[in-house]
């Protein structure tokens, strides 16, 4: 017994004696002592990541890290603007580097993409048009499980201009205005992957299983970004070291480790104990970040919590098949009865913005102009007037009734999501004040998204969020062609069942409208119908949160799908 206790004490002493410098940094930093250096930065994330093959990967955490090692022709910067990365410039019709052509009576687009002369893979092989052609070829294969296939298949043909391997003429299948938005169109290193695809491409999933990304994920030839992967342990961590062949500025930080800490409750402890130095946007929930921000102030810790309005739109989809919700006056009354300003202040300390429609303020298409969209400011009287007009009169218990039926709804959301549950309670109270009864019914996320919303099986209201991106046509959620039915295999995300012929027509025309101003006009037309007919109750736009050491410079949250790692080479700790 004594021996065992002794052993335990010895083990702890050994651990204490062998404590690494990395483990000391944050503690010391928190006390205002020694600082982090550019030798190493450890980032904590709470979401799982996968294999880094850019054609196959789909997890957010992988996207987050992918931008450190791989770049695309273009991207969106932190200001929300499209900027070139591997390309010298973004082709445009105005500049004459893109044109609409007619082939067999069908309009197509041809655009010339010129690659940076010094853009090379980590093994020194130049990045050429062939790498993009191979990406299209692999992605088009029926044996490869590519997620967003259209990104690649929209490009019909890639030819060399003037026999220059760095000057590529892309011919697009359709003449769409967003042809240049190739932020997720990754090149694939031909010198490594072509042989694999040739050998295994004819077998189902043969390419995925045998790709160098799977077999030798630290091969430097797979990467063209500021970093390369030096170590990858799925389910645990990824280590990045600078890529000496990177075309741009060499990164300041000599080693970045991204560590998976799946329990968000322990992220803070890991930060404070020095296991990690930074919590990424894929870490803390907003309430945790708000609580930690207070601790930083009260304990004078060397961290900063960043809040960045994002393109995530929290809202309630109304099931328009519900007989009470068919009446637009009831839908409008529901909207007028929500005090969104008070909601975001009470629950989020004003760190998230009230929403007015589906386009977020991070988007160039956003408008809050009352002349263009209908804005519903909190107005209890107007809500009551609309309900009175619709024939809903207050009953004995204050809840409105009509033809013997109570004005009662069920709001469903994901169980266990503390923020959403708080929002539910807040809304129940607000709607009760105008005589509307709302009951909460929550389900695990899998059931809620996998069954209830997908099959439109919610009785009246579904509270959740849409992740969007700037200038993203809302076709999948607004078009009546995307109302999920058994006939279409429950595909499409128009869970409301909203059908507006004019909106459908505008959305179809939007795809091919080349003039920026005209597109904005069209989107505003759609938003006008959306806010007039209220198929959805907008709630708030979510914010991204991250915790960084105060000394970290050049770190800027973006709030959209191209994360802050897009400019990882600018991060500096010294």
């Amino acid at each position: 017994m004594k021996n065992l206790t002794g052993l335990l004490v010895v083990a702890m002493l050994v651990a204490a004696c062998t404590k690494k410098d990395a483990g000391q940094t944050a503690d010391v930093q928190a006390q205002g002592g020694a600082k982090l250096t550019n030798n190493e930065l450890k980032i904590g994330i709470s979401q799982e990541f996968e294999n880094f093959n850019p054609l196959i990967s789909s997890m957010l955490a992988t996207t987050y890290m992918q931008r450190m090692v791989n770049r695309t022709l273009v991207t969106i910067d932190a200001d929300g603007k499209w900027v070139p990365q591997l390309a010298k410039a973004i082709p445009s019709i105005e500049a004459g580097t893109a044109k609409v052509i007619k082939v067999g009576g069908k309009e197509k687009i041809q655009a010339t993409w010129e690659l940076l002369d010094n853009a090379v893979w980590g093994d020194g092989t130049p990045i050429t048009c062939d790498d993009f052609s191979l990406a299209v070829k692999i992605a088009s294969s029926p044996n490869v499980g590519v997620g967003e296939k259209e990104v690649y298949t929209q490009v019909e043909k890639i030819e060399l201009v003037d026999k220059n391997p760095k000057k590529c003429l892309f011919t697009y299948e359709k003449a769409k205005w967003d042809f240049y938005m190739l932020g997720t169109f990754y090149p694939v290193p031909k010198q490594l992957e072509e042989a694999v695809f040739k050998k295994y491409g004819s077998q189902k999933e043969g390419y995925e299983k045998n790709s160098i990304y799977s077999k030798e994920p630290t091969n430097v030839g797979l990467f063209n970004g500021p970093y390369v992967i030096s170590e990858l342990q799925l389910g645990d961590h990824v280590t990045f070291v600078p890529n000496p062949k990177f075309y741009g500025t060499q990164p300041h930080i000599k080693k970045i480790i991204v560590k998976l800490i799946p329990n968000t409750g322990t992220l803070e402890a890991n930060l404070r104990s020095g296991t990690i130095d930074l919590i990424s946007t894929l870490g803390l929930a907003l309430d945790q970040a708000l609580a930690f921000e207070k601790k930083i102030k009260s304990e004078n810790l060397g961290y900063q919590v960043l809040f960045q309005p994002s393109t995530v739109y929290e809202h309630i989809d109304l099931n328009l098949d519900n007989p009470f919700l068919k009446d637009v006056r009831v839908r409008k009354a529901l909207n007028f009865a929500i005090n969104k300003e008070d909601l975001v202040n009470a629950l989020f300390e004003g760190k998230q913005q009230p929403a007015i429609h589906s386009v977020t303020p991070r988007d160039p298409w956003f408008t809050a102009d009352p002349a263009k969209v209908t804005v519903y400011k909190y107005n209890k009287r107007e809500a009551e007037r609309l309900l009175d007009e619709a024939g809903w009169k207050p009953g004995a218990d204050g809840i409105r009734v009509k033809d013997g039926k109570r004005l009662s709804f069920t709001v469903m959301t994901t169980a266990g999501n503390k923020t959403r549950e708080l929002v539910q309670v807040y809304l129940q109270n607000q709607w009760k004040q105008v005589g509307i009864e709302v009951n909460a019914k929550n389900e695990p996320a899998r059931v809620f998204f996998g069954e209830t919303t997908k099959k439109r099986a919610f009785d009246s209201m579904a509270l959740f969020a849409w992740v969007s991106s700037p200038e993203n046509t809302p076709k999948s959620t607004f078009s009546s062609k995307n109302i999920p039915t058994a006939k279409n295999g429950w595909s499409g995300q128009n869970y409301m069942g909203w059908s507006n012929a004019a909106v459908d027509k505008t959305l179809d025309a939007l795809d091919t409208e080349m003039k920026h101003e005209k597109r904005i006009e069209m989107v505003h037309e759609v938003l006008k119908a959306y806010t007039d007919e209220v198929p959805v109750l907008p709630l708030y736009y979510r914010s991204d949160v991250a915790v960084i050491p105060t000394q970290l410079k050049g770190y800027r949250l973006t709030g959209h799908q191209f994360p802050e790692t897009n400019v990882v080479e600018n991060w500096n700790l010294e």
């Binding site: 651990a15 204490a16 450890k42 799982e48 294999n51 389910g235 280590t239 104990s273 020095g274 969007s468």
Partner: protein
Amino acid sequence: MTTYILRRLVQTLMVIVILSYVCFSLMTLMPGDPVELMISANPKITQEDVVRLRAFYGLDQPTYVRYFNWVGEIAKGDLGYSRTYRIPVTEMMGPSLKATFVLSMGSLIFSILIGVPLGIYCALKPNSKMDYVVNMFNFGGISLPSFFLGIVLIIIFSVGLGWLPAGGYQTTGMHYDSWFAEMLDKAKYLILPILSLSVQSIGRFSRFARSAMVEAMRNDFIRTARAKGMSEKVVIWKHGFRNALIPLITIVAISFSSVFSGALITESLFAYPGVGRLIYTSIIGNDFNVAMISFIISIAMVLVMNLVADLLYGAADPRISYK
């Protein structure tokens, strides 16, 4: 004996086949599929993509067809491809199984080494002060949720004292000069998870050992052994402890069967890349291949360890025979 073992092995195989179909069917009953996860991560995935991907992964096929396809691949020696991690299952599971084995075995051995001697000591000195103290510790340990204990340990030893890392498997990016340095580094990361897992098991083993030993020491043959003038050591270990072994074998065998199943909460809390977390992620992500292989390993371990326990009963007690 050989016939008995063979019969049990055939039964084990049959149970594995039946349960694998049940598990497979239950997984297909869960709402959602991997394609839905892709949609949630990428708003630009189109309706056509969804239909194509479901067909590609065979998610549009009936359950039995998918099951037989999966069994067919297993029979060919291909454990499949992880939809979540996008690599072959074998490459994914190997390191996780190893990590979990180290953690679970470490905890099991530590718990047995502490719990069983404590229980025996208390059984030999029932109602003593030590017995009361150990009992109190045991009940406390059994009642304390491991996630709570884990957080407390992290706050004390990682945040407060800074002695031990808050989570992980090894110092990331570290290159070891010797196997001893590697072992020492990894051991440091194991202390808190093992402590968190063991407190409950120590209580359980100690309680079982105490009651089994108290029961054994009450038997007439113990009195006879003492009357024959045998030393107390022989009485306790040869006559008492051997008879107390049967319930202990059962509990140890059951605990042993879970060494490859992982400890989801502890692994998540301490960011330990074990198989428990892998199973959870694969179930949530509808990653059939990984989840099914994990289920089969768990089922096989339970069945095999039950067989081992049955065989050990015979070794511990010669009155039990297998014909």
